[in-house]
Symmetry: D2
Subunit: 356 residues, 4 copies
């Protein structure tokens, strides 16, 4: 090193020190990491087996009460790439919630949007803004942002379901608000059908008392009998020679807001997919992340070269831009949720088919 070089080097070191003292940071030393050629998520593609999850939920059921403050006996998927945060992906929270026989989880509300997807069981009612909504196998329930909600298990059996929220996204955005409701259950009635479904659950029919568009769906629940029928119809139509499926053997529906036809929640996309036996999907990648849960059947998922075998209840996450292929081992139904509405709203969405 020449004297000139040494002086320059010292000046540069001093400059970087002075940057730091002034609360500044140069772009040129971090540009490549900040702005990669394509998404390089810290979140890993990862799977969780139901046979591991469920016993842990049961043990929590025995050991941990549902109480004010903790609020819910929910056990979250913690993506191994996200440094110990209880986040399935950088935007999505996914947890298994366990409610024991006769237990109640008290009312609260939050800016975060949420849904529940029921893998199995029945007997719980979720009261959403005062409207008791039955939870049964295969149902999808919404608790949109800032809606009061509480859960009541009326049965002698515990019940377990999947909770999905936009907690990490809202945390990152510093947009969270939270409020406690009453400690006691506000409505212990157990109607077959919620008021929201009675008002809104008729295909293509809009009540004249509900003409204002809403940011989220007014339907509190999407029932399995409808979802199942819709998926079955797509495969039947395909078999009859008509366009109905995403690709051969792959039926899918999106849960939407009937006031707009758009996603049921403004930050979360909710879908159910059905693959006929022996179906292999195209390999696709998209910007944004998603969480899948097997509802029936078994399948093999390939996440960026890595194959995982999946059975009922198993969950996996797909980080942004990670190639995904699904192969059905016999007929299989999969629930999926993602952050896609956010990316579309922000004009950051991209999709690609890697291989067909």
């Amino acid at each position: 090193m020449t004297a000139v070089d040494a002086q320059e080097s010292a000046e540069l070191a001093k400059l970087y020190d002075d940057f730091a003292s002034a609360g500044l940071m140069p772009l040129w030393t971090v540009r490549a990491g900040l702005m990669p050629q394509e998404p390089a998520p810290a979140a890993a593609p990862h799977a969780w087996a139901w046979k591991d999850l469920f016993p842990l939920a049961e043990r929590a059921g025995r050991l941990v009460p549902v109480g004010r403050g903790g609020e819910r006996r929910a056990i979250a998927l913690a993506n191994p790439g996200l440094g110990g945060e209880p986040y399935a992906t950088p935007t999505l929270w996914a947890a298994v919630q366990y409610l024991g026989p006769k237990e109640v989880a008290p009312a609260h509300r939050h800016a975060q949007g949420a849904f529940r997807f029921v893998l199995d069981g029945e007997g719980v009612w979720t009261v959403v803004d005062g409207d008791p909504v039955a939870m049964r196998r295969g149902d999808l329930l919404l608790t949109p942002g800032w809606a009061w909600h509480e859960h009541q298990n009326t049965a002698a059996e515990p019940m377990v379901w999947l909770d999905g929220l936009d907690i990490p996204l809202v945390a990152q955005l510093d947009a969270g608000f939270f409020e406690f409701g009453p400690d006691e259950l506000t409505d212990d009635s157990t109607p077959e059908s919620s008021r929201g479904e009675r008002l809104w659950g008729h295909p293509g029919l809009r009540p004249l008392s509900g003409l204002a568009d809403l940011p989220h769906s007014p339907l509190p629940a999407y029932r399995w009998r409808h979802t199942d029928a819709a998926l079955a119809a797509q495969l039947e139509l395909e078999a009859e020679g008509h366009a109905a499926t995403v690709e051969p053997g792959h039926a899918a529906v999106r849960f939407t807001n009937p006031t707009t036809g758009r996603d049921a929640l403004p930050t979360l996309r909710l879908e159910m997919h059905r693959l006929a036996g022996d179906t292999v999907t195209a390999t696709r990648r998209e910007v944004g992340s998603s969480v899948w849960q097997v509802f029936t059947g078994s399948a093999t998922v390939t996440l960026d070269q890595r194959e995982v075998s999946l059975g009922v209840g198993d969950l996996f996450v797909v980080p942004s831009w990670c190639p995904l292929t699904l192969r059905a081992d016999g007929p299989v139904d999969l629930f999926r949720f993602s952050d896609a509405p956010a990316y579309e709203a922000l004009r950051l969405a991209r999709h690609a088919v890697v291989a067909r």
Copy 2:
């Protein structure tokens, strides 16, 4: 008259003559008629009794074949204020269509949007863009603008239904296109459910193969069982103390496009109303016109002071800005269609409650 006055008068007469020769017309002589203080429709409030209509349709069924050119055995309501035009209102066409046993009305398509509402009977299939759609009592069927459509009566009985179109609006706008299809029926199958319903008829569920928004509903039919259930639920919810109806005792649904949540057709609003017994609606007026048909029960309508008693099948038209009150003589269901989407799109809509 002075000589000056006389000269002025002569000059003025000459000016008006010269206007006429030049293809011109002064505003000041016609302003009040052109631009009234409030809507002064030529169309009259008027009612047609089913007991008069139906026998005439039957006689037409015996005497007039369904053939190429005439296209349909449809008998239109001709508003007495509209100078002999076959128009229910300045924007709306309403006709009774009669199809004899085993008859076929061949395929055509037109820019005009259409629907069918079935007062009674069954056995006819309307094939819409190749998709056979069963018609049964209480059902509403769509044949959106430029969709091919044809009708087949498979039954041993004739069938009659209400056709509604935007023919007068499209005529006024010189926007009509028309094309003949094949003379022979293109699909004589008689499925229980159309392909469109199988794909789209699930509440809140959108097929992933149908993510592009459409100007009209992809649902070819809205079935009476759904409409009836939706109306019943509103009255039940009201009885339980919840907001659900338009006003006490008055339930109503709008038939909508699930891809957008908006009206099922871009120029026509389609609704079903149910009044509980003894219900009297508020007196309302709105800019734009509508046609109503009693589906079940009996009612009394007051149209700008004039009372008319109505029974099943009876039709009446409400011109723009004409005050309307309905009084139910026992439970009554009424189908209604109007041109409201056009007024809303053009920012010409106005509503008022005259009396409650």
Copy 3:
């Protein structure tokens, strides 16, 4: 004729009589006229020469006062195909308005939307909802539906301009409301720039006090210096090899609502076109009608085979679906207004290029 035929014929005649008595009309006898293969407008393509129009306006200025009731000294184009109605087309009103030196046309408002396009002169202020707006050569002024407006000529010379409204459309729709304002001018100030322009007339800049979207433009006037500059820039960019024009030699701008980017008025499309010398446009047709006025230069228009030579101030109308070709005799500027926003909103718009 056999006895059977004769009886049938008599029965048929009786049926048609009975239809008429019952206020009904069969489709099959009128279908072809009601629903033509393609638009068959009654309105004719037609032109009016400024050399005929202007002297008549001057004579009206001498002979006819501007008074309450008649409201405006406006002389409307009466399309020869529209049976004596003062309508340029079935949807559009176009009139020459003449205001003498120091004259005032008092305030009124109406549901009909209006604009003024200034062929020549200056000295008039139009007060729109209390905001005085100067009128000068080449300017376009808006008086949106239900905005109060009044005109004041401050000059020693008369002034003439083109008024365009949606009067026929609103009349057909029975949607008109009209209200008289004060008889005296409400504001006789003559500011260089209106308040609306001062607030909104900055490219791409939206006042934070104006964040609510409006159905019509908040800009009361579009000044010629801007329009001229925009058109000139397009032709210059084209000459430099960049995409900027509609087609070679044909520059055009649309006057838009800065709160939405859409048409300045919900029922009227407003545009200025500039053709470089020797430019011949493609031959185009569109559903819906338009009115054009030559602002500078001379041109030849071909309307469905018929050629008309046009000079400054000349007007012509293009009925729905009528093929239109323009040929510039040297540089020419043309103002155009049409009903296109209505057709787009109602999903009735169609366009075709007939020849290039």
Copy 4:
């Protein structure tokens, strides 16, 4: 501790261990931190003085070349609460970019949206998708997501400006793509006005060649003369007694996309504010963060009780939900950018006036 308690405690510890091994995390131990009562941002309210920033930028100009890889001599604000990340807030990047005399920063493009705001100087052209755009004092330039851009300093003086991007938001969302362009400048012309401005920079005028709506503004630059005139007009209108300002003495404009009337960029809100002397704004808070820079004059900002005195060039950041008050020491102009469009699109926006 009883034996029972001890066993429970041991079981619980084992459960938490097993959670961790299984890649799971309970909600109840972290709920309060994850879902605070109201936003509790890690980002601090903070200010940076221009007198500190500018000399550091100059030193970097002497010591650090602009080169491929580092790409830009940009020095970022690193919020002291954000753990050493070069982020002004959790969503916003703000940096001072320094370009020496005759220097060129080569072409690249990225999914991240960017703008440049020019505090002082001139002589640089930014080439955006091949269109050279002059940069001068007070101008705002856009380089929307995925637009190629490069900078050329034609002057004998260095130039410094503010870069704003959505880098942290896009990083969090794993939505970044980046591509290098040619190493050499693609267009060294220095036009007075960019092609984009010539086509789009006319108030309310939309080229017919640009009828498709865009997610970002087609205007490459918003010039100071327009911004200044718009702000001056608001204060003048207020002085004349008309509604025009945000609050007394506080004028403000938003930079918008003329194809939609919405924000110029889909993830960034861009505004210029002018306070008349002695103006004190209301104290406001909003969900989402923003960065402000003083353009002219001096002011005092109160950020959650803490007062900071600001002069020309000084920057400060407002974290989510942090109360903000501005007090003008004489007339002051402030540029502001924020992430508000993202919050509005995701339905997470909230605003409150804390004190007036």
